[in-house]
């Protein structure tokens, strides 16, 4: 397995720069997710690593070797495509064997590798079928198998789960996690689904509008989002944002909401730049209905999820937020409830979208 280094790579389509001077190091054996909305450039970046898009600037190295001028086949990576891209007229066996034959692998070695991959992926009984005779899930396995037999330096996944139904997607996710734990293969996984990124990746690269917003472990991304975009994109329901003014509370910031109620954050006040509007960001699970709650709010919608309940609440100044209550919540739409906010997990965001967190 190999590391992958991107050294200020750029990509232009015509005059539009879609990736600009992006640098990133993916360590050997790491499972990295490129996470972002469609059109953010995450697939383009993956395809640049694979050699399916030209690189207009910078360097890409795989295992220390510069590859950005090599054809896709010479880079030693394997890719699993969104629509699987199996060769429709070849049997599953031939699909797996095609790449090995092309580099002159001996027949017995091809057979051995395919047998092994088929055993791991439980597709041994499908080897003589054509892709058209397979279910979506089976095709997915064959596509993974085609990558597996090549024993590549890195695996590249381009939204591989987006064509599966919900149940199969969850199952395949777990299988991919297990497969990675056992192979320890360098893996890049492109997805727009934050749950896939959170559950699978050792590190997540959050991308938006053709640039990297944040690189970090799933809990860093969730707990200390670098920007407002990351905070909104990761986590469900999305983080609440309320406009505030800030008071100094012995070095820490106290946020004052529009209705005058306060949230005591742990964000050091000296980090904040003077001037400009600020917003406080609080996740739903940090806002509870408590008798001693200081912020009154009117419940508009109650969403029951079984283990917990999301309350959509309007504050006195008209701003809205989502709070979390227990699964057996007695709250009804129309109730006015007292809310308590855990200020320790709150973040502040300036008008440029940059986040300020409590000291670690």
């Amino acid at each position: 397995m190999s590391s992958i280094e991107l050294d200020s790579v750029s990509k232009r389509f015509g005059s539009v720069e879609v990736i600009s001077e992006l640098s990133l190091t993916i360590h050997s054996g790491e499972f990295i997710a490129f996470l972002g909305p469609s059109g953010c450039g995450k697939s383009t970046l993956l395809r640049m690593i694979a050699g399916l898009e030209t690189v207009n600037g910078g360097e890409i190295r795989i295992g220390g070797e510069r590859v950005d001028h090599l054809p896709p086949g010479a880079r030693g990576v394997a890719m699993v495509f969104q629509h699987y891209a199996l060769y429709p007229h070849m049997t599953v066996f031939d699909n797996l064997a095609f790449g090995l034959k092309n580099i002159g692998t001996p027949h017995d070695e091809i057979a051995r590798r395919i047998e092994e991959a088929a055993r791991i992926l439980e597709i041994g009984h499908l080897l003589q079928r054509k892709p058209g005779q397979l279910s979506g899930g089976q095709r997915q396995r064959v596509a993974i198998g085609r990558a597996l037999v090549k024993d590549p330096k890195a695996y590249l996944f381009d939204e591989p789960l987006s064509n599966l139904d919900a149940a199969l997607r969850v199952r395949t996710r777990v299988e991919l996690a297990r497969l990675h734990q056992q192979t320890r293969a360098t893996t890049i996984f492109v997805t727009h689904d934050q749950v896939e990124a959170m559950t699978l990746a050792s590190r997540i690269v959050v991308m938006n509008a053709r640039k990297v917003e944040q690189v970090g472990t799933p809990m860093e991304i969730y707990g200390r989002p670098a920007t407002e975009f990351v905070a909104r994109f990761v986590g469900s329901p999305a983080m609440n944002f309320l406009p505030v003014t800030v008071r100094d509370r012995t070095g820490l910031a106290t946020a004052v909401l529009g209705d005058g109620s306060i949230i005591d954050t742990d964000v050091p006040v000296d980090l904040l730049s003077a001037g400009g509007e600020l917003r406080v960001g609080v996740r739903a699970e940090a806002i509870h209905v408590r008798p001693d709650g200081a912020i009154p709010g009117k419940v508009e919608v109650v969403e029951r999820l079984g283990d917990r309940t999301h309350l959509h609440i309007r504050l006195k100044d008209g701003s809205t937020l989502v709070a979390e209550d227990t699964g057996v919540s007695q709250v009804q739409p129309g109730d006015t409830v007292p809310l308590a906010v855990e200020g320790a997990t709150a973040h502040l965001f300036d008008d440029a979208g940059l986040a300020y967190h409590a000291r670690q």
Binding site: P71, P72, G73, A74, I103, G104, E109, L121, D151, R178
Partner: protein, 309 residues
């Protein structure tokens, strides 16, 4: 997925031959189109320009030389009553056949747009004649038109009528060719219309039926608007195709009587390969090319305006 131990196995020489394809432009990729381009340039582009050049030459049969005469051939053409006559004949023929191809083609398509076996067989009959060659078609129709022994003459005699000599009567020769042509290739417009009809979602008709639309109304407000594009394709295709009338006229009437059924292509053929006036024939062929291009373009723009407006 259990027990994953990818055994190292025999080491495969890492990419023995890095022959894999690359993305992006490569001049070697042009090799895929090169073979066709050889034929395209040698047998289409070159003769097209050579033809234009030839149309400005006057060739001398006897010492096999030719001299440049500019537009003299064209000047001569437009003073040649026979040539002007062939233009009118061809236009008349197009006007006789194209509307019929559209109307009957569409009627047949509407009637046979069903999935039962009878309709399938009927479609096969109407389309089947199109696969015959022009020579077979003209043999068959000579036997229909012959004044003495022809089928039509026999039927007319049966009813006590005097048989008509279709292909030797000036006013009937071209219509007779038109009938033969329609019989021959009505299947193509029919098939094109059928394909278009099958693209119309059935829900539209079901919705119309629920809205109490009659069959006639459904036709006007659903079917016709949906096949406008195909209609255009059929009209342009048939104009271009029928302007090239040749075999039927050459074999049925030899252009007669008295040039009454001589189309442009027959004129080109006779000037070029019977009288060997190559320059003159080349000039006539350029005129045909121009007329066809103008007719197709005019029709295209006219219909587009109507579709958009």
């Amino acid at each position: 997925m259990t027990d994953v131990t990818l055994s190292p196995g025999k080491a495969v020489a890492a990419v023995k031959r890095p022959t894999g394809a690359s993305i992006g432009p490569r001049w070697t990729n042009a090799l895929f189109i090169a073979p066709y381009m050889v034929f395209y340039l040698a047998l289409l582009v070159y003769p097209l320009f050579k033809g234009i050049w030839m149309s400005m030459l006057e060739s001398d049969m006897f010492d096999d030389t030719s001299k440049f005469t500019g537009l003299a051939n064209y000047y001569r053409l437009f003073n040649d009553k026979i040539f002007i006559g062939t233009i009118w004949n061809t236009i008349f023929f197009v006007l006789m056949t194209v509307p019929v191809f559209v109307a009957i083609g569409l009627l047949l398509a509407l009637a046979l747009n069903r999935s039962d076996r009878t309709s399938a067989s009927l479609r096969a009959i109407f389309f089947g004649t199109s696969v015959l060659s022009v020579t077979i078609v003209t043999i068959i129709w000579k036997m229909m038109y012959m004044p003495g022994n022809g089928a039509i003459a026999s039927v007319m005699r049966l009813f006590g009528l005097e048989p008509i000599a279709f292909i030797t009567t000036a006013s009937l020769a071209l219509p007779a060719i038109a009938v033969t042509t329609i019989w021959w290739i009505i299947g193509l417009p029919m098939m094109l219309f059928l394909a278009a009809l099958q693209q119309i979602p059935g829900e539209l008709y079901e919705a119309a039926a629920l809205d109490n639309a009659s069959r006639w109304r459904s036709f006007w407000s659903i079917t016709l608007p949906s096949i406008r594009r195909t209609m255009l394709v059929v009209v342009i295709y048939e104009i271009v195709a029928q302007f090239q009338l040749f075999g039927q006229a050459q074999l049925l009437t030899q252009g007669g009587p008295n040039n009454a059924s001589r189309p442009i292509v027959l004129f080109i053929y006779e000037q070029g390969f019977r009288s060997w006036n190559l320059g003159y024939a080349a000039a006539a062929s350029e005129v045909l090319f121009l007329i066809m291009a103008v007719a197709a373009l005019a029709q295209f723009f006219a219909s587009r305006k109507r579709v958009e407006g």
